[in-house]
Amino acid sequence: MATLVQAVRMALHYGETHLGVTDIFGEDVGPPLGGVFTATQGLKTAWNSPLDERGIVGTAMGIAYAGGRPVAEIQFCDYGFNTIDLLKVAGNQRWASAGNYEMPLVLMTPSGSGIRGSLYHSHSFESWASRLAGWKIFMPSRPLDAYGLMLSAIVDPNPVLALLPKALLRVRGDELLPGEPEDPEQLKAMIDAPVGDRSAWQPQWPPLEEYFIPLGKARICREGADATVVSYGRTLPLCERAADELWEERGLRFEVIDLRTIFPYDWETIRTSLLKTGRILFVNEDTEVTNFGEHLLRRVVEEHFYDVLAAPRVLQGKHVPGIGLNQIYEQNTVPQLPQIRQAMLELAMEEP
């Protein structure tokens, strides 16, 4: 079973061999490293760029203008904050030019906490990104979704941002990608670069198959009628686990929704679940002032204020200037299992 980062790599391989990807580039993306998280090892169109995020985004735009299909990487989303103007422009080019140009590019970047990354390797990006009109944004929480969403991102003619949850990159899924060998050790031997000298190494790609997960489609991970919890990325598996625990211990059935796509988000799935359970909690780890979860909450209040059985709510990261390295900071800054479990329990138990 592939890890999330292997799934991304295989999607990129499929992209460059079947879907017209021309350039996969960014800092340390090409040989010998193949990405600080190994996402781009062994890819034939991968190359190393100068250490210049503005150049990376601008060049990706240029390649897209000229008919290429670039997948560019910002090494950590934390280092993309000097490119927001370019991201805004990439998102508005079709609109600004009244349809003269499309902007078929994919930007991928690791996002979120969970690898003891301290101030500059722990930021979340989805709340910022959700403000970039014209972009599509996804954040997978399992390998199969990463694969299927990345293929969709590649064929979509609009700019797509792939936020890769750092904490889950090395986590294996429990479903095979289409074409993936059964044995994860075999997969590793085939596609992971060896430690040490790699100059002669060549990956052996499994016979991967096309598999598109449409952008804008959430996934219901657990069905339930007692309450709804919506999440994505690092916190999604925590919500699943909390749901399992609350079922076992309290007999509460939570509907757990993996939003997967931040924008366009799957409002139909959210509202259908909400209308079923009457109770909803949005969980993410981005900072809590002007957070994307607050947007979803607003939609709930705007459209279903009189349909809910308990106050709808959001659980988010603290509004502080950063996430400190000592784990005391991280544990007390972004939601962990106990807080998520607690919030879910309170939601389910609230008596209006």
Binding site: G62, N100, Y101, K217, W267, R299
Partner: protein, 352 residues
């Protein structure tokens, strides 16, 4: 080329018919801009910005562009003073005025963007944005595709002198001069010695802006942008270098800013800067390229053309409220929410 040299600057000359062609386009551009300045004052439009004082260079540039769509042709990353370039490439003045008058028929932006913010896919004219200097981050991207594609297409990027202080100017040099990856980028700086109200000599520590290319091995030239003969040949040399060497070149054109920065600063005619149109008229008369009747005739014809176009424009429709979100997204087969265009938030689509 040993054609009869009718107009001469130093060792260089241009034949009379070419000079008259350039002259006619210069006058067309001037009349267009002057009329649009009036529109900004009469309320037929709002904001004006454009290139009076740059016509000599800009026309020579436009006439030498390898015009067409796709990487076989030149890509143009322009800024907001390039109307004369566009006219020289064959744009009808009316298409600039449509943007000035914010009509739905504006082919560059459907009445959305400021005047001079061109976008034209069939000529590889990329959407001009007001954000100073970002075009310099994109030019290496189009040039990279061109270099890989083969042929002699180049990427031409144009900006002002003050804007070179943005890091993006440096990014362009860096990305265009990577060892073994030199790119056919023609970096043009239109040096009018001003950034709005700020005099160049108060901010520039470098003598010539093109000197900044030298450490990167980027050849460069400073040219009198008021002189079409000098400009024509400097552009020809620069293009020839980029086309043949598949590497970057820098051209710095010294030009005038005859109506100040924009309508925000009044757009009044300044008297203390050389006017390339009247200088050329003088030289044509002296060299016997034409007589006064010809000059008067060109003025009349071009002015009449502009007036006629304006009448037409003012009869054309305005955008309507349903146009607001149009062209946000290109149609996508893998988007569950916006398979066609965008019209409102997910689940709140007007059309559904």
């Amino acid at each position: 080329m040993t054609a009869v040299a009718d107009l001469r600057t130093g060792r260089f000359s241009l034949p009379a018919d070419r000079v008259r062609e350039i002259y006619t386009l210069m006058v067309r551009a001037r009349k267009l801009e002057e009329r649009m300045i009036k529109m900004s004052k009469s309320g037929e439009g709002y904001f004006w910005i454009g290139g009076p004082g740059e016509e000599a260079f800009n026309v020579c540039l436009g006439l030498q562009v390898k015009k067409g769509q796709g990487p076989d042709y030149d890509y143009l990353h322009l800024h907001y003073r390039n109307s004369a370039t566009m006219l020289a490439m064959g744009m009808e003045p009316i298409d600039a005025m449509r943007q000035m008058a914010m009509r739905r028929t504006d082919p560059h932006s459907m009445g959305r963007n400021f005047v001079g913010h061109f976008a034209r896919r069939e000529w590889n004219v990329l959407p001009v944005s007001s954000v100073i200097e970002i075009q310099y981050t994109m030019a290496p991207g189009t040039a990279l595709v061109q270099k890989r594609h083969g042929g002699d297409g180049i990427s031409i990027v144009v900006g002002g002198d003050a804007g070179t202080a943005e890091g993006d100017f440096a990014s362009c040099m860096i990305w265009s001069s990577r060892p073994g990856q030199r790119l056919p980028v023609l970096m043009i700086v239109m040096n009018n010695h001003w950034g709005i109200s700020t005099a160049a000599e108060t901010q520039h520590g470098e003598e010539h802006i093109i000197d900044r290319g030298k450490p990167f091995g980027i050849p460069g030239e400073v040219v009198d942008g008021c002189d079409p003969v000098a400009s024509w040949h400097a552009i020809a040399r620069a293009m020839e270098y980029c086309r043949r060497e598949r590497g970057p070149f820098m051209l710095e054109a010294l030009v005038s800013r005859l109506h100040g920065h924009s309508s925000s600063s009044g757009a009044v005619r300044v008297e203390n800067e050389p006017d390339c149109v009247t200088i050329l008229e003088q030289r044509m008369l002296e060299a016997g390229v034409c007589d006064r009747t010809y000059i008067a005739h060109v003025h009349e014809t071009e002015e009449a053309g502009i007036e006629q176009a304006l009448e037409q424009v003012l009869r054309e429709p305005q955008p309507d409220p349903t146009d607001v979100p149009r062209f946000t997204y290109a149609p996508s087969p893998v988007d569950a929410v916006y398979p066609q265009d965008y019209d409102d938030l997910p689940g709140r689509r007007r059309s559904s």
